[in-house]
Symmetry: C2
Subunit: 221 residues, 2 copies
């Protein structure tokens, strides 16, 4: 594994894991010393992470992208467009066996599963469902959108009931895809994304003071 990919991966994990808070300033020299690489791979990593939307230019420098509530709403609309298109393709496939792997993924989460894992599987559900469509562009769009949503979803205050409801919706979507009912899968997925967006934005909006108290930059809708 090259240094370039190493720095990119580690820095991404630190940002997604909120070890570096939204809005925090980044300097190439700090990253350089932090990961023991020189500025060349550091700059490559920064350029890549910029296109992922995880970091942004701040004048001449770099900052970790803030949590932007308006952006979350726009991403939800974008997600709906691409995820629904993907799930329609998937439901129309002759071989839809791949969804059983996704169902198994959901099954792997139980009461003893750590929250971190629920979070990851909740993202991967949508990503893998899009991958099944076979359309590389829809897949990448979903993956990138979920990456951007990742931190916000982690900060979301979720209760057990909300998580159970989300999982039930996931299973319902899978069932529709399994039976080849593209229309129902599309409708269930649309509703799921809209509900997910509402819960997310509400949660972050209500908790925005707490987030700011933790030093996280939160941009209002």
């Amino acid at each position: 594994m090259s240094q370039m990919q190493n720095v990119e991966r580690q820095l991404r994990e630190m940002i997604l894991g909120l070890e570096i808070g939204p809005g925090e300033r980044l300097t190439e020299r700090w990253i350089e010393s932090r990961f023991g690489a020189s500025r060349t791979p550091v700059r490559a990593a920064l350029l890549r992470l910029e296109t992922e939307g995880l970091i942004a230019r701040d004048g001449r420098g770099w900052t970790v992208a803030p949590i932007n509530l308006a952006e979350l709403g726009q991403i939800a609309v974008y997600r709906e467009a691409v995820e629904v298109a993907a799930v329609r393709l998937t439901a129309a496939l002759e071989d839809r066996g791949g969804i059983e792997l996704i169902a198994a993924m959901l099954d792997s989460c139980d009461a003893e599963t750590p929250r971190e894992e629920w979070h990851r599987v909740g993202l991967d559900f949508h990503i893998e469902l899009a991958r099944l469509s076979g359309n590389e562009f829809l897949f990448r769009a979903v993956r990138d959108a979920m990456t951007r949503l990742s931190r916000a979803r982690w900060l979301e205050v979720r209760d057990e009931k909300a998580l159970g409801r989300a999982w039930a919706e996931h299973y319902a979507i899978l069932a529709a895809v399994r039976s080849g009912d593209a229309e129902q899968a599309a409708q269930l997925l649309s509703a799921h994304i809209a509900g997910s967006r509402d819960r997310l934005v509400t949660s972050l909006h209500d908790d925005r003071r707490g987030l700011r108290a933790r030093g996280f930059a939160v941009v209002a809708a």
Copy 2:
């Protein structure tokens, strides 16, 4: 303007303008000497153009992305998803005055307009229509998709009639958006994209020997 942006812009123009053919090898040193910049901005430009899909890694090196007929089909599906979502949003806006600027853009093309300009306006129509939606993600998705399609559309063998038909469809879409009929706008746009894809893939497929004779790498569907 910094060297970094300069190299990126000039190299992108050379690729999109087919001054460097699809499939051609690129070396950082050649770009460096060609544009009088050092390798640092060259590498930044390459990383950015890679995410745009205009260049790709070839083992350790770089090549200009080939024309990929299978990819063109996938992009059409992707385009349809995001463009239709965008046009639905636009048709639902209270202030849809922005579409008159787009109509003026179409009007500016007449019999004496060079082909190059028709090509550019044909791309910009879709990009600007998506921009009107106000959704940054849908806009970027459409812009990036059209960028990827740009070279293939330039190579397309188009007759006057096909162009006139495309323009008529553009006007019809605008009319539907202007009247606020999201459903019709969506249907017209879907049909337009599907037709555009069919003509494009057919044209390139029929002409693939000619393209290869020009040294352009064409990957079959």
